[in-house]
Amino acid sequence: MNTDIYKEGPVVHNAAFIDGHSVEIPILKILQQDGTVYQGAELPKINEEHAVKIYKALAFHRALDERMIGAQRQGRISFYMAALGEEAASIGGAAGLEAQDMIMAQYREQGALIYRGFSLENFMNQMFSNEKDLGKGRQMPIHYGSNELNYMTISSPLGTQIPQAAGYAYGQKLQGKDAVTLCYFGEGAASEGDFHAGLNMAAVHNAPVIFFCRNNGYAISTPSDEQYVGNGIASRGVGYGMKTIRIDGNDILAVLKAVQLARAYAIEESKPVMIEAMSYRLGAHSTSDDPSGYRTKEEEEKWHAHDPLSRMKSWMLAQNWWDEAQETALFEQLREDILAAVKVAEKIAKPPVEDLVSDVYDQVPEHLQKQLTSLKAHIKKYPEAYPLTAGRIK
């Protein structure tokens, strides 16, 4: 037990407030938009193979987002959320981890799943909520999850994964695993009570978790200056006694560097770290949103110039790890594959009626079994009213 209940600061006899902005927070930038590295910048661990893998993930993400926004417009899927302009945060995050590390994301981090090799089919099956969806067609599009890939299934309620990540990481540590948990959240979600709970608990209990805030300037229509008036989210780190770093979130090398360092620190010191990645949500919040109701085209234009893809591409070209022919071929192939996968996935049947009641508990309890039985009888009576399941009821 420690009775030093605060860190002794200087004793003063004249009252003065600490200013609300008294922590200075540097921002780490490694890669410039033209693809050159800042003078004196220290690169993350990266080689050609790794760089190509990362770049391909970025390209896949961009192609997927563009295509699926289209698919939603055509009415083929009900909903979609893109990460246009902020793909480096999710992909760089995953690229800085090991495969055994758990990722607990908010929803705009499909990039991490792409990087980890979630198949195109798996993406499609989820979005079309067909019977091959790992999630059994129960959640809205983009609520992916994969046990095999250590990517926790997305949950719509914001912020809930933050204290969960602290607990998950604590369990990893207790069981002596060489693994951390990386927890993504938006600057909007950082206002939730669960954020405070999760960060403080992780700090007090020394959980090896990397809290990764994607600060993209908006929470739906709410600009960040109506979300908080402190210095971003990073300024909260000192409140939890937590090591913290702010980075340019559109700079893939900065993201990679920060996550590599954070992981090493979390493992070695068994302590949490916070990363704040500054970016901008270039597109709409989701396909249900229209940003023209709350911001200007000019503002968006400004940020187009900071595109993380073209930035990395320029660097790759300069490294001679990539060329324009590969670029064209890659995007063509991606578009083709995605279109084909859409066509396959939309023809796969929806989950059977049994999946309505499974997984509520580990086993279907009696009352649910009864409800299922009478539901089946009912569907048989009115098959045309339940076209998705009627055909397959025995």
Partner: protein
């Protein structure tokens, strides 16, 4: 009279409430400039200024905590929770604070001016977290009032009554009907009574009871039953807490049969409370067991939402079951 959809009716009620009362405020996530993700507060910031209609940070427990404080202070907060599925982080502020504020202080303080608006309900391909109907979670809480309108006319009159009621009110808005339900709505101020159910159709064979968007479902089922020669009496409960036992009991004394339909899952839903009370009030007059036609006891699904739902066909079958008992 004007044609309004349910959103317009709500927007109109908020406009009237803010115009008449300088201390009335509307706030919540995206409620300000943008007018809310469903646009229920559209135009209010322009009209009443940013101090009275504004975005809050993304924190439901904060929104209701802030609203409780405003109400205690004497202002008239009208707080929006973006989806009823996201009201749970504020559960403590509502159930332990709003509901008990007056009682615990011996009426030294109260938050009677508080109104919480939130869109609820399924049928919009929203899956687990954009479909819930959580009214029953709150109904076990003395001190709260809970109101659910079924159409634009009801929405405006009941929302104005809720805002002016001197108790904390949760106002659940059937979001499936936001644009789908259109009807005549007086442009002027009016109120509909809180705590009173409404018999929307007289009948003699069985009483069908629901609230909110579910009224449409029982109406459709009643139409089907009519073709079989079954005469249904329809009741819109309108207020979940405190609920109108007399209107329901009187109807059941007449028809001898009761069917209650709710969107939420069966177990421990509000239909259970009604059934428990009515079996007692009308014991000797019941000709068949009280039927509850509800959602299946699972989280709200996405692709099997039709199968999960208490739809008109399930209600129709239950009507026949009750009649043929």
């Amino acid at each position: 009279m004007a044609q309004m959809n349910l959103l317009q009716a709500i927007n109109n009620a908020l406009d009237i409430a803010m115009a008449e009362n300088d201390s009335a405020l509307c706030f919540g996530e995206d409620v300000g400039h943008f007018g809310g993700v469903f646009r229920a507060t559209s135009g209010l910031q322009e009209k009443y200024g940013k101090a009275r209609c504004f975005n809050t940070p993304l924190v439901e427990q904060g929104i209701i905590g802030f609203a409780n404080g405003l109400a205690a202070q004497g202002s008239t907060p009208i707080a929006e929770i973006q989806f009823a599925d996201y009201i749970f982080p504020a559960f403590d502020q509502i159930v332990n604070e709003s509901a008990k504020f007056r009682y615990r202080s011996g009426n030294e303080f109260n938050v009677g001016n508080l109104t919480i608006r939130t869109p609820y309900g399924g049928g919009i391909a929203g899956g687990l977290y954009h479909s819930q109907s959580p009214e029953a979670y709150f109904a076990h809480t003395p001190g709260l009032k809970i109101v659910v309108p079924r159409n634009p006319y009801q929405a405006k009159g009941l929302l104005l009554a809720s805002i002016r009621d001197d108790n904390p009110v949760i106002f659940f808005e059937p979001k499936r009907l936001y644009r789908a339900s259109v009807g005549e709505v007086p442009e002027e101020d009016y109120q509909l009574p809180i705590g009173k159910a409404e018999v929307t159709e007289q009948g003699s064979d069985i009483t069908l009871l629901a609230w909110g968007a579910q009224m449409e479902i029982i109406e459709k089922a009643a139409e089907m039953a009519k073709k079989d020669g079954i005469s249904c009496e329809l009741i819109d409960l309108r207020t979940i807490l405190p609920w109108d036992v007399d209107t329901v009991a009187n109807s059941v004394l007449k028809t001898g049969r009761l069917l209650i339909s709710q969107e939420a899952p069966l177990t421990a839903g509000f239909a259970s409370e009604i059934a428990a009370t009515i079996q007692q009030e009308c014991f000797l007059h019941l000709e068949s067991p009280i039927e509850r036609v509800c959602g299946i006891d699972t989280p709200y699904p996405l692709s099997l939402e039709k199968e999960h739902a208490a739809d008109h066909l399930k209600v129709y079958e239950a009507i026949k079951r009750s009649i043929n008992y």
